[in-house]
Amino acid sequence: MSVGLDDAVERFADAVGGEGPVTISGTGTRGGPVPGVRAVVAPAGVEWVQAAEMTMRCGAATTMGAVDAALAEFGQCVAIPDFGTIGGALAIGQSSVRRLGWGPVRDTVLQARYVSAAGAVVKAGGPTVKNVSGFDLCRLLVGSRGTLGFLADVILRTRPRPIAEQWFTSERDPWALLGELYRPTSVLWNGTTTWVLLDGHPADVEQRATASGMSSVSGPPDLPEHRWSLSPDRLRSLVVERPGAFIAEIGVGIVHHEFPCVPRDTDQPIRDLHHRIKHEFDPTGRLNPGVALVAPA
């Protein structure tokens, strides 16, 4: 299945180079490159899938469609939202509505190679699921929006595809359902109606749904455009405190809302740390110039 990723990564590093502003372009589903800046494209393609390891290696510009097709052959999948590219999903770091059961996007990355601001290929992490060898730069890269390095290729942790999965709906309190259902994959709530995604053995899925008085539905509700991140214990008060339509991920804290979230303050020590990390990794500010991760003071 090899697509010659190693050579492609070297060419990608040459394209990024070591001087001048540069941005990275994928499929544009998460905002696209910085306008007016020279854009590069990461390598694409699935290099291998090792089913018995539950790992796969692919270029950062590989589309989720291609990843999903490659993994489907082995009855596996990956806990990353199913649109755009792998690199885009990791650079933004936002998880899908399955986060409650499948975990966050950040936990899927075992190893990443990225091109640094100096144009060098840097490896972070390691190829095995368990690894505590050195500082975990993979965690730093996920959600860093291409400000510290451009992802070139990654080794991802995969997971078995569920034998069966089904969305259900109920008028019951979502926290009551969260309490009585064993590890639901998703619990969504709009203030009145609850949607639940269950997976596992078909008999277990059916038994759980029946016991909890839920009705099957074809899928989750449409999600409003804006994304908030709240402590999960604040979700119940959304109905009275904030106007507007929403779908909240119960047990997680993500709220898909009709209105944009109010920008949050960042404590000075955290801002200082961001500044120092950015300075260490990209001293001239050439990678994705203008992209800021925390609000200025």
Partner: protein, 488 residues
């Protein structure tokens, strides 16, 4: 026994130590600051065989205490190292350069528990198993379960990104930490991460977990709690060949089953443990697998049936399903007491920790036995087979002339063989002092420089647990000894 002498023996004169102690006693109660030689010497090492030297030991009782100590450390330019229970096996909590040891063992309160949203705030000195015991009545637990869980602290779990048998399905510590309140190395206080799932900015929480105390000191930790499973099935399988057992592990995962735990014990280990706990272990067989499947009843039963079929194809001998909780506890006691049981064989042991891809387990285990035989050493294998996380245990009698050198030579070979097989240096013990010189086996100069950049961003003055993890720049260039085929 001093395994590694590369620790700066003494960096402070007596006057400087006296000044430091006086400053600390001005901020903390006198009984929190211990400088008597006999007391300080107790903190020279962790559970590894590596020794260092501390100038003074401080027992912090609050975030404010930790901040006060670190501010004084900065004023005096003295390094500091946080210490939980001292159960680390890689020298991560060993003080170098006459560091101040900050013991967090008295910061041991569970601060809050939210059983609905399944999270809790704890202080770093809370013991791992104590947390799960205290919240058991709520139907939840803290998933990371190192074999030392009765004594290791959650602060230490965070520093080392600890694992344990039940991390196969649910992930290691990093996946179970929402937020960490940290006194940064310059003495400022920050909360990394948050109860909310997507805090703004870089994942500072994620890089702090596993940073081995080099990015600051955790003072409050927000942990994720997992639901206790409604159905648990625990099975002991035995095999006439280690390779068959190891191969079954890959077969199970490839088949789409991710058990909660898959542990392996080889014959020497089974014999030592059986003599210790009398659990009816298959002592005549080459190896045994302890597999646990959890979840809902139909799914668990189906998975056990499928594992039985797959095992038959790998010539399984016995297939013993624990009949009740008592039998399950006995089987797990066998696994978790393995390290104590080996004292019946030889008085000393050196425990290694590497990871290899699961499908390479049979051949790497062969190599481990071959290496031990060549160095005339006994080796027991008891490990997290599901993760490919090897724990070869070299047992020896340190009174035997030349044996320590052979133990080190064999250990070094085992690490190199693991990395050459596409594995990594450490699965859960960390790098600490033990493996920092081996980091170039996995990482290039450029890779290591990036890790050093991150360290510098957190700790420009390099006061927080110096000398760990990263090889010194001079050693950094020593990348000539990469085995053929190594993953770099």
């Amino acid at each position: 026994m001093t395994v590694d002498a590369a620790v700066d023996p003494s960096a402070m004169n007596d006057g400087a130590v006296a000044d430091l102690v006086a400053r600390l006693r001005a901020q903390l109660r006198p009984d929190q600051v211990r400088d008597a030689v006999a007391e300080v010497n107790l903190y020279r090492r962790d559970a590894s065989n590596i020794e260092g030297h501390a100038s003074v030991v401080c027992f912090a009782e609050s975030t404010a205490d930790v901040q006060a100590i670190i501010r004084i450390a900065n004023e005096c330019s003295v390094p500091f190292v946080a210490r939980g229970s001292g159960t680390g096996l890689a020298g991560g909590a060993v003080p170098t350069r006459d560091a101040i040891v900050i013991s967090t063992s008295k910061m041991n309160r569970i601060l809050s528990v939210d059983p609905v949203n399944r999270l809790a705030w704890v202080e770093p000195g809370v013991l791992n198993l104590d947390l799960s015991k205290q919240i058991a009545h709520l139907g939840v637990h803290f998933a990371p379960d190192p074999s030392s869980q009765q004594t290791c602290s959650i602060g230490g779990n965070v520093a080392n990104n600890s694992g344990g048998p039940h991390c196969l399905a649910d992930g290691v510590t990093n996946a179970h930490i929402h937020a960490v309140e940290v006194v940064l190395p310059d003495g400022t206080l920050a909360v990394l991460g948050g109860e909310d799932p997507e805090p703004d900015g870089y994942d500072l929480r994620g890089v702090f977990v596993g940073s081995e105390g080099m990015f600051g000191v955790a003072t409050r930790i927000c942990v994720k709690l997992m639901q206790n499973p409604p159905t648990v099935a625990t099975v002991l399988l035995d095999f006439a060949s280690v390779a068959d057992g190891a191969q079954l592990v890959s077969d199970i995962i490839a088949d789409g089953i991710v058990p909660a735990a898959v542990e392996m014990m080889d014959q020497l280990c089974l014999q030592a443990v059986e003599a210790f706990i009398h659990a009816g272990l298959p002592v005549d067989q080459a190896a045994a697998l302890l597999i646990e499947v959890v979840g809902l009843p139909v799914g668990v039963a189906a998975q056990i049936d499928r594992i039985r079929e797959l095992a038959a194809a790998r010539n399984v001998g016995g297939f013993r399903v624990a009949a009740d909780d008592a039998e399950r506890a006995l089987l797990w006691k066998g696994r978790k007491s393995a390290f104590g049981a080996i004292a019946r064989i030889k008085p000393n042991y050196y425990l290694h920790d590497t990871v290899v891809p699961r499908h390479r387990l049979p051949e790497v285990l062969d190599r481990v036995y071959e290496i031990a035989a060549r160095h005339e050493l006994l080796v027991l294998n008891v490990f997290h087979a599901g993760d490919g996380n090897l724990h070869p245990l070299l047992v020896y009698d340190a009174r035997e002339p030349g044996v320590v050198e052979r133990v080190h030579a064999a250990g070094d070979e085992i690490v190199r063989v693991s990395v050459a097989a596409g594995g990594v240096l450490s699965g859960e013990h960390g790098i600490g002092l033990e493996k920092r010189e081996l980091m170039p086996l996995m990482f290039s100069d450029v890779d290591l420089a990036a890790q050093a950049d991150l360290r510098r961003a957190f700790d420009p003055a390099r006061l927080s647990n110096p000398d760990k993890v990263l090889p010194s720049p001079a050693r950094c260039g020593d990348v000539h000894s990469v085995p053929e085929g190594a993953w770099i």
